[in-house]
Symmetry: C2
């Protein structure tokens, strides 16, 4: 099936969306979870084929992301069941106004329509994205990277079987067959077919969307996250937070990439930082990339031109000295991707200034940037983390996969 044919199927499925109740959707999601478990062997076989084809071609970390097991499939099924238990965001009256003349205006949450997701090699995204799209009342079009395509196809086959078992059209979940760049471009320009495109991947994919997309698009997941250690910071707290933000899972988008330190505290703080992140870590010591001033205080790698604009996703931390919170804010707003930033301080004025001045989705006072996550924010799920300002910012849950419309009831009202 060509991508154009698939998009027509998605549009046809979209026209049926208004006719399902919350119970229909939840029943379908449960059937999809059941079908995943039933089809586990088939999914594992296709996953093994993906892995065999990728071995030696992609890194071990990527192979690990790609690998499924019976346990991981059970986890995917449980993920769908968790989505069932979340409240439906659709059809809520967000605001109600009664106007002179008797016109009643209700701002009502509704599904977007067709949500397309471009993602790379994690097969579990397939079922997560499908479940969140369906729960929020949308048709889901998935476009998976070629490394994971056989796995994704087996998963989607199971999900569609679940839909059929529940009496809903299988075309509510569709997987693009073409894994070349062309299909990504076709989705980006599918005006009238795609109501929202979510690219989940590296900067290359995100930039291609920004440049080429003519359909509505939400940029996700690039995180050059900063932590600023203010002159009044509690040094132990700062060390704990920085080690957590940098080292607990360096490959994720809410990990810290850049440390900004107030000049006043740098001589006391930086030696302890080196002790904690480098000397004390037998495994995975952090490489510190130091600006000129920091390099006069501790040993490390001299920071290069791009080190303050790089998402390392690795045990690397760029370090910069600034004079105060104002200079920290200015540096961060210039170099950040708008994801998550933190200040460590015991000065409430500095904290408020930072919270107000930083132009990012999530601004922390005395906490780790690693909390930027749908689950941690209490959304119950996550479709990605938006780094843009329009429509959704930060972790996207079910509500962010909806839009609204005004439904206005009158009795012959004219203006």
């Amino acid at each position: 099936m060509t991508t154009q044919e698939l998009l027509k199927k998605a549009k046809a499925a979209k026209s049926t969306l208004g006719s399902y109740s919350v119970e229909d959707i939840d029943r379908a999601l449960t059937a999809m979870a059941d079908a995943l478990i039933e089809d586990a062997d088939a999914i594992l076989a296709e996953n093994a084929a993906d892995i065999a084809a990728s071995r030696g071609v992609i890194s071990d970390v990527m192979i690990d992301r790609l690998s499924l097991s019976a346990d991981r499939i059970a986890g995917m099924a449980q993920g769908i069941r968790d989505v069932v238990s979340l409240p439906s965001p659709v059809g809520k009256v967000l605001k109600r106004v009664e106007r002179p003349g008797g016109l009643v205006i209700e701002k009502t949450s509704v599904a977007l329509g067709v949500v397309a997701i471009i993602y790379e090699s994690r097969p579990n995204v397939t079922s997560d994205a499908a479940a969140l799209s369906l729960k929020s009342g949308n048709v889901c079009v998935l476009r998976c990277g070629k490394e994971a395509h056989k796995s994704a196809a087996a998963i989607v086959k199971a999900l569609r079987k679940g839909l059929t078992n529940a009496g809903l059209p299988e075309d509510l979940v569709l997987l693009v067959e073409d894994t070349t760049r062309q299909s990504a471009t076709e989705l980006m320009t599918a005006d009238g077919y795609v109501d929202l495109l979510i690219p989940r991947g590296g900067p290359g994919l995100i930039n291609a969307c920004v440049k080429n997309a003519t359909v509505p698009c939400i940029q996700t997941g690039t995180g050059i996250c900063h932590i600023y250690v203010d002159s009044t910071a509690d040094i132990d707290m700062a060390l704990n937070i920085i080690e957590n933000a940098k080292c607990s899972r360096p490959s994720v988008c809410n990990a810290e990439e850049v440390l900004v330190v107030a000049r006043d505290i740098a001589p006391a703080f930086l030696p302890k930082l080196k002790q904690r992140l480098v000397d004390a870590r037998a495994e995975n010591p952090v490489e510190l990339r130091l600006d000129t001033e920091a390099a006069k205080i501790i040993d490390g790698t001299p920071a290069g031109e791009n080190d303050f604009d790089t998402e390392f996703l690795d045990y690397i931390l760029a370090v910069k000295i600034v004079s105060d919170v104002d200079e920290a804010i200015a540096h961060i707003n210039r170099h950040s991707t708008g994801h998550s930033e933190a200040i460590i301080t015991s000065d409430t004025t500095a904290a408020d200034k930072f919270a107000r001045g930083i132009d990012s989705s999530s601004v922390y006072v005395n906490a780790s940037t690693r909390f930027t996550d749908g689950g941690e924010f209490g959304l119950g799920c996550e479709m990605g983390i938006s780094t843009q300002k329009l429509h959704a910012r930060g972790p996207m849950g079910l509500e962010e996969l909806n839009t609204y419309k005004y439904i206005i009831r009158g009795c012959g009202n004219i203006r």
Copy 2:
């Protein structure tokens, strides 16, 4: 000043936004209104020069839109004062979550940053857009069509004088000097400088934005609005609503362009429609463009290929016969621009189906599409009417010129 230089000034002004209170902003708006009145003579002189240069070049309707008078300037000043009296949307805690571990997460409304507006020949948009942008905490970059540029420059000069008088930076309001297509393109691609671009104009401008914009953009104002007369409609109510929606102000985007009629009621309804919209109107009778079936019932112009996809903005109405509400919904969703649609019916099942099935910003039951307006919806103002689904849909007020960020306060929390 080049557009690039101007964008740098806007960005510098943006970095000061966090330091103004609601009272500062309101004081500045009042000073801007005062300055408009003080500078009325200078503004009228520049407006006269615009009109002299445009006479014979643009239509009389356009000349009328372009023309200012002392009264119109007083109206613009009053418009700014009305904005002062609206509540500020900035800094509201939209949601507050306290997580296990004591982390407090506040979803807080914040300004977008720099809002750019591209508009055509109505000088009053200059002060309206500046006031709404400032009240919602944003820097405003205006790019006016060349016909109105001298008028806009005089208005912006007054507004900036008002800002200075109130002690705020004049660069919170900026007018692009270049009126060639190049400056529009520069705004569309001003990544990192423009946080939201609002094109207000015809389909050419909107399409150019969709194709070329790499900055976040909200499409506004194209309205191919439909009214569907169901088989159970009250015929007098339908005639009143249709005459209002078509004839009260045909040049606006919420005017009706297409009438869809249920086959059952067409023989009784269409002759009365022709009587009301054509025969009874001595001035401005409506030209009916009829599909084959309607043409068998009443006289009119045969509908051409594009008549169901045209925003006439004139005393012209395309008429189509359908079998029922389902076919009406399908036709409308295929041909609408997503602005406003109405059903006239006494059948609540049909009304609910229509309200649920129509994929437009505003869906009316037994009321005129002409109500789609910020003022009529109780927003107190309007920056335009969004026909897209992301971020803002329908009339945009102050809240729609904001985004949110999460401010998270902890006491050393790590994950």
